[in-house]
Each structure stands twice: as structure tokens, then as C-alpha cells.
């Protein structure tokens, strides 16, 4: 064969292969499934669900993708810019960001799917929290709130009761802190992270403060918020030295490594203890987060969001599959008590779980209904959905305020005043 003919043949073959590959990729219609739930045991469940689904639905393909909790919300806009968002996102879709996406018609309305599955079986307030801009923007499969994890052995040794109020907690943290022994009484995060934002927000609510008034004007510069931040800074003195970097994982690891006598966290710590420090299980108990006069905690959800794409129908079918009670339970099993299922029919399965049976003192505050959970986008029930909250979150206004106080040693009143200025600036041009 002559060289020119060989090159021409190669060219024709290459074009043919490229076109064939493209056609195959189009025919396959792979569903991209993005989630920050990346504990190895949970990854195993995602894989198992995908295997079961694809075996039952020949020709279907699901591609799992994983991101960290703090990065996921930034990965989605990048994908949207590229014109190919993931079809399904499970967890970490902040309510305010979803409201912005719903407003721009980027999301599939999941209300028909809820009706198809059976609306009566769902936790109505959770569905309502994700009903944004006239559509069911997400289906929450779990509702959750953080609690205070406590080392009962250390509390007993020091003759202390588990704390209910700020004063009790401050006294206990001080007594339990012993840097020479590498032991810290508290674990208040001060990283530029979502975890810091949530914990600082809970402190603000626990002092009776609100970040917005009923007309959705920012109200950061108030006596309640100054008091909350003063308390937060004090408690950071009894926290590990590198809290300036703490996000979710570090806050959990400080407790499971035996270095922190207490930490704020959700139920996931239970599975971390089983995996990493089973000896701490009998020495652990949870209580609701101590308050400064007003009991409060942050309500959060794990949820499925479906972005509009050419695979919408396939994505909806897979979400429906995952929402079947036995599959929902499979998703929760590796991190049991981390979230409370939003389907009534799943709850009995959770209650029968071995870990729940064995550790009622740990699990009870995590799964028994509470009436003091607050969502940042709805700080009081009688006000409209706070469309401005996304701007506060995106700009890290609260973690920056915490860092200025805790790491920069800025006086609380100045840091709070700056936060107010930033909040006004960030929200002044926003419209519902």
C-alpha cells in the first residue's frame, strides 16, 4: 500500500470511529449522579443501587461522581456553564441555590413524582421546604440536625453533667481542656467552611438572634449576634488549635480521634465511631446543642435534585427507584441515624437497626422529632422565603466574621459591624 493511500485510509477510519463513538454515546444516555456522600460504606451502597437498577433496566447507565460537601455547590455551576449539568444530585444542594436554579428554569419539577410515589407517605414540612419558585425543586429523602457529641467518661471523671446551656457548656469545656494531654473540651469550627457557617448560625439562633428581619433586611449588628459571637470566640479557646481549617470531616475526626471531649455533629459520627474508634462507643452520648436562652438547631436535608437534560425521564425513573422504601433504607443504613427518613414507611426499618437498638442514648436526640429546628431561608415561619440567603452563603460572610474574631482577634463589635455592611452590600440589588 502506498503511503498516501495508507494516510487517506487512516483518516477515513478515524472519522468513522469518531462518528460511531458519538452515536453510541448518544444512544446510551448515561445518567450522571453527583453526590458528596462519599464515606466508603456509602459509596458501596451507591454502586450496589446502580448495579441493581442497571440489571433491572437493560440499556440504562448511571455514572456516579463524587465531590466534597464544600465543593459540590461550586462544581454544579461549572457543569451548568459547560452546558451539561449532572442529571441527579444527591445531597448538598443548598436551598437558596436551588431557588436560584428553579427561578432560571433549570430544574425538573418533582411534584408529579411525589404524587406518583404517594405524597401522604412523605414528611410534609420537608417537602414544603424544597417547594421553591412554584415547583418541587427537590425531594428530600432525609431530614437532619446537628447535636452535641459528648464523652461521658470524661464528663464523669470531671464530675460534670452533660450541658444544656451555654454557661454549663463553657464551664465544662474549660474544665475538660488540657492542651498538655492533647485534650480539648470543645470543637468550635472556624474554617472558611459550611460547617462554620452552620455552627455560628446555631449560636446566633441560640442567643435569640436572627440574621434577617421579617422584611428580609440584614440584621447582623444586634446585641444577640454580638453576644453569640462573643460566646463563640470564648469557646474557640477550648477547641483544638487548628480549628481555623475545620470543616465537617475535621470536626468529626477531632472527636473520633479522642482529642476533643465534645463536638457538634450530625449522626454520621456514629458510623465513624464504629469504623474508627469502637472503644469510644460506650463512652459517647449526644445531647441537643446547648443554648444561650433559646433552644435552637439547624434543620438540613439530604435530597434528590434533577437537572433538566435530554435524560430527564431516565433520571426521574432512577430517582423513583432510589426512593423505594427498601432502597432508601439501604442509603441510610451505613450512616444510620445521620438522617431521619422523610418517608413514614422507612422509619420502622431504621428503628429496628442494630445500632439504633444498641445505642439509644446516642440515637434518641438524633431521630426523635424536635420543634426548635430552624432553616436559614425561613428563620421564622411567618415570613417569606429568604431569597437573599444565597448571597450570604456564597460570600462566606458568616465564616469570615468568625475568622476575623477568632483568628484575627478583631473586636466582636467591629467584626459584626463589618458583617452587617457586607450583608447589606451583597443583598441590596437582589430581587425575589
Amino acid at each position: 500500500m502506498k503511503r498516501r493511500d495508507f494516510l487517506a485510509g487512516g483518516l477515513a477510519g478515524g472519522v468513522g470511529l469518531a462518528m460511531g463513538g458519538h452515536a453510541r454515546a448518544q444512544a446510551r444516555g448515561t445518567i450522571r449522579f453527583l453526590t458528596p456522600e462519599t464515606d466508603p460504606s456509602q459509596v458501596k451502597v451507591w454502586q450496589e443501587l446502580i448495579t441493581r437498577y442497571t440489571e433491572a433496566n437493560r440499556g440504562a447507565a448511571v455514572q456516579p461522581e463524587y465531590a466534597s460537601w464544600d465543593d459540590l455547590i461550586r462544581k454544579i455551576p461549572a457543569d451548568l456553564m459547560a452546558g451539561r449539568p449532572p442529571e441527579i444530585v444527591a445531597g448538598s444542594s443548598r436551598v437558596s441555590f436551588m431557588a436560584a436554579a428553579a427561578k432560571r428554569n433549570l430544574l425538573v419539577d418533582l411534584a408529579p413524582l411525589v404524587d406518583q410515589i404517594g405524597r401522604a407517605d412523605f414528611h410534609a414540612p420537608s417537602l414544603k421546604a424544597w417547594h421553591l419558585n412554584g415547583i418541587q425543586a427537590a425531594i428530600p429523602y432525609g431530614v437532619q440536625w446537628p447535636v452535641l457529641w459528648c464523652r461521658t467518661d470524661l464528663f464523669q471523671e470531671a464530675g460534670l453533667e452533660l450541658p444544656k446551656t451555654w454557661d454549663e457548656y463553657r464551664a465544662a469545656a474549660e474544665k475538660l481542656t488540657n492542651p498538655a494531654r492533647g485534650m480539648f473540651g470543645a470543637c468550635f469550627p472556624a474554617g472558611r467552611t459550611w460547617n462554620t457557617q452552620i455552627q455560628a448560625t446555631i449560636a446566633i439562633w441560640g442567643a435569640g438572634g436572627r440574621m434577617f428581619d421579617d422584611k428580609l433586611n440584614p440584621t447582623f449588628d444586634t446585641p444577640e449576634i454580638r453576644r453569640a459571637m462573643t460566646y463563640y470566640a470564648e469557646m474557640c479557646r477550648f477547641s483544638p488549635p487548628d480549628i481555623g481549617q475545620y470543616g465537617f470531616r475535621e470536626a468529626s475526626a477531632a472527636y473520633t480521634s479522642g482529642k476533643a471531649a465534645t463536638t457538634f455533629y450530625w449522626g454520621r459520627v456514629l458510623s465513624h465511631l464504629y469504623q474508627q474508634a469502637p472503644d469510644l462507643l460506650p463512652k459517647s452520648k449526644t445531647v441537643h446543642i446547648p443554648h444561650g436562652g433559646t433552644p435552637a438547631t439547624a434543620l438540613g436535608w439530604d435530597e434528590f435534585v434533577v437537572y433538566k437534560s435530554r435524560n430527564t425521564n431516565a433520571a426521574l425513573d432512577y430517582v423513583k427507584f432510589m426512593l423505594e422504601p427498601q432502597h432508601m433504607f439501604m442509603m441510610m443504613e451505613p450512616v444510620i441515624a445521620h438522617v431521619v427518613p422523610t418517608r413514614t414507611s422507612v422509619m420502622p426499618m431504621v428503628e429496628r437497626h442494630d445500632w439504633v437498638q444498641k445505642h439509644p442514648d446516642i440515637v434518641r436526640p438524633l431521630i426523635e422529632p424536635i420543634d426548635f429546628g430552624i432553616s436559614a431561608t425561613q428563620e421564622t415561619p411567618d415570613r417569606p422565603f429568604n431569597y437573599k440567603w444565597d448571597a450570604i452563603e456564597a460570600r462566606n460572610i458568616i465564616p469570615d466574621m468568625v475568622q476575623r474574631i477568632v483568628l484575627g482577634k478583631e473586636p466582636v463589635n467591629i467584626a459584626v459591624e463589618k458583617a452587617q455592611k457586607e450583608a447589606v452590600d451583597a443583598t441590596k440589588d437582589l430581587r425575589p
Binding site: 436560584a100 472558611r192 488549635p241 487548628d242 483568628l407
Partner: protein, 318 residues
């Protein structure tokens, strides 16, 4: 062209004779025959256009828009993003940090890399093994390196703090990455550790081709070790060091992953270099226009650095 046209320059007469008459070939065949070279170049040219020219042009275009990341269309705002940029203290702070980061990290990489290359140029037992081991940091994936260093720096269970406390150098663990004063230098250290082997490899290769008779002649002339190093070694490796300085500066100035993974730009913006500011603007605050404007300014700065370098190089060659 007729059948009787003279053969093309450079074709073999036998090959030409074997080719069928042009009039008898199909249109596609003739097209391939006449334009095969161009057709074969097209994939490379298209790749260049799609992967380089288009993103660059699109980035520059976006810098003139006010565009929320969720909006497919933006609003043309002219130079407003640049006006915002140049009046923004955060931008100047990040520009200063980026310059400091690139300058200090590259400077230390060159000093350390050259020193190690000089040592590895000397004969000693196990030299081949050490030469291989020195490359280790450079070969490791960045994410693995960062995870290792985060563990080393950890205040609760990090080896570094444990050694410092055990040896009595400090009373309590130091939060290396959590304090504005130490975070920047902790990040620089990782940047130097990760990339100094690149300098070692290049300098070592250059050292091995310096003629030994230069050193012998200098010795005969009575030059000491320092004089031989400055007048021969440094003089010989100067050009290589300049190339390394340029390449490493471009790379470190644009480096995102080391700082982002170690500190995310914090604490208190003490490591907020320009690439992280771009990321924060574009994907944190959803301001694609402003993010693009910063990226364009970074691009222009690097073009300026390259221009200065090439002007300097030309002057040297003249």
C-alpha cells in the same frame, strides 16, 4: 493538468507511472489526492482552535459581561469588570500574594534544586539511588502530596508538631495552616518541596556536559572553589536557570491546586492568590465576568513576564 504534464518535483518516476490517470478517479479521490496534506493537518489545527484559541477568546469576551453563572446570556458592561477589579483592595492583595508566592517559591526551588544537583553531581556511593529518590516528590500526584502534608501539619496528630513538642522546641502544637502568619509559609514550603526536583533534573543534566578541562585550566590559574563555582559552573548553567525561572514562574503564578487544597485561600485571605480569587468570583459568587477579568489580567501579566524574558535572552545572545 493533462496526462502529459511533467511529473511533480520530488515524485519518483516509477510511482508516477503506477498512479492511474487523474481523469479516471472519483471526485473524492481527486480531492484527497490534491488536499491530503491540508486534510491531515486539519485535526491539529481544529484542536488548536477549539482548545486554545476559542477558550481564550471566550474568556476575554466574558470579561466584558456581567454574567451570573446560572444565566446562559450575560449583559455587556464594557470595562466595568476591569474598573471594579482595579479599585478592589482584594485584587491588589491577591496580586501581591501571587507575586510573592511565585517569587519566593521559584527562588527557593532554584536555590535548593541547584544545591542538590551540585551534590548529586559529585561521585559517592549510592548516587544513582539518591538521584532516583530525589525525583519522588515531583512524581507523586498533587492530591496525595497535599493529603500527606495536611497530616504532617495537623495540630492534633501531625508528626511535625509531635516532634517539635517532644523535642521541647515548642510547648504546644502549632496550627501551621490555621494561622494567617504561618499558613503562607507552610504552603510555600510544600510548593518548594514538590517542585524542586524539576530544577535538580535540568541543572544536573547541564552540569554533566560542562567540559572538565575548564575546571582544570582554572585550577592551574589558581582559582579557588568559590571562584570556579561562580566563573565556570554558574556561568555555564545560567541560561538553563533562566529557562527554569521562566517556566517555574509561569507554573507557580498559575498554580491553583496546592494552595486550594491546603488552605482554600485562608485563613483570613492570607493565601488568597489570583487563581483562587478567580475561582471564588466565578464559582463561589457566580460572577463569571469578574472571574474572567481577573484571569485576563493574569494572562497579560504572564505575557509581560515572557516578553521581558525573551528581550533579555535576545540581548544576551547579541
Amino acid at each position: 493538468m493533462s496526462q502529459h504534464a511533467p511529473p511533480a518535483v520530488g515524485t519518483h518516476p516509477a510511482e508516477d507511472a503506477a498512479r492511474p490517470p487523474i481523469g479516471s478517479r472519483s471526485l473524492l479521490g481527486r480531492l484527497l489526492d490534491q488536499h491530503l496534506g491540508v486534510i491531515l493537518l486539519l485535526p491539529s489545527a481544529l484542536t488548536f482552535l477549539v482548545l486554545l484559541v476559542f477558550p481564550l477568546g471566550y474568556g476575554i469576551y466574558t470579561s466584558f459581561l456581567q454574567r451570573h453563572v446560572l444565566d446562559p446570556e450575560g449583559v455587556w458592561v464594557g470595562l466595568a469588570n476591569y474598573a471594579w477589579l482595579f479599585s478592589n483592595a482584594e485584587f491588589w492583595h491577591s496580586l501581591w500574594l501571587s507575586s510573592l508566592w511565585a517569587g519566593v517559591a521559584v527562588g527557593l526551588q532554584i536555590i535548593l534544586g541547584t544545591a542538590v544537583a551540585l551534590i548529586l553531581h559529585q561521585p559517592f556511593k549510592g548516587r544513582s539511588l539518591v538521584r532516583g529518590l530525589v525525583l519522588f516528590p515531583y512524581m507523586m500526584p498533587v492530591v496525595s502530596v497535599i493529603l500527606v502534608w495536611m497530616l504532617l501539619y495537623n495540630a492534633l496528630y501531625g508528626v511535625l508538631n509531635w516532634l517539635l513538642v517532644q523535642s521541647g522546641i515548642v510547648d504546644a502544637p502549632i496550627a501551621w495552616l490555621s494561622q494567617p502568619g504561618s499558613a503562607f509559609w507552610a504552603v510555600v514550603y510544600v510548593g518548594v518541596w514538590k517542585y524542586f526536583p524539576f530544577v535538580v533534573v535540568i541543572v544536573l543534566a547541564r552540569l554533566q556536559v560542562i567540559p572538565q578541562d575548564l575546571y582544570e585550566a582554572a585550577r592551574i590559574d589558581g582559582a579557588g572553589a568559590i571562584a570556579r563555582f561562580i566563573d565556570i559552573t554558574l556561568h555555564q548553567i545560567k541560561d538553563v536557570l533562566l529557562v527554569i525561572a521562566l517556566l517555574r514562574t509561569i507554573f507557580m503564578f498559575n498554580n491553583f491546586e496546592i494552595i486550594f487544597l491546603l488552605t482554600g485561600g485562608g485563613p483570613l485571605r492570607s493565601t488568597m492568590t489570583l487563581p483562587i480569587l478567580v475561582y471564588e468570583q466565578a464559582f463561589g459568587l457566580y460572577e463569571m465576568g469578574r472571574g474572567s477579568a481577573i484571569a485576563v489580567v493574569m494572562f497579560l501579566i504572564l505575557i509581560a513576564v515572557m516578553t521581558i524574558y525573551f528581550a533579555f535572552l535576545r540581548k544576551e545572545q547579541d
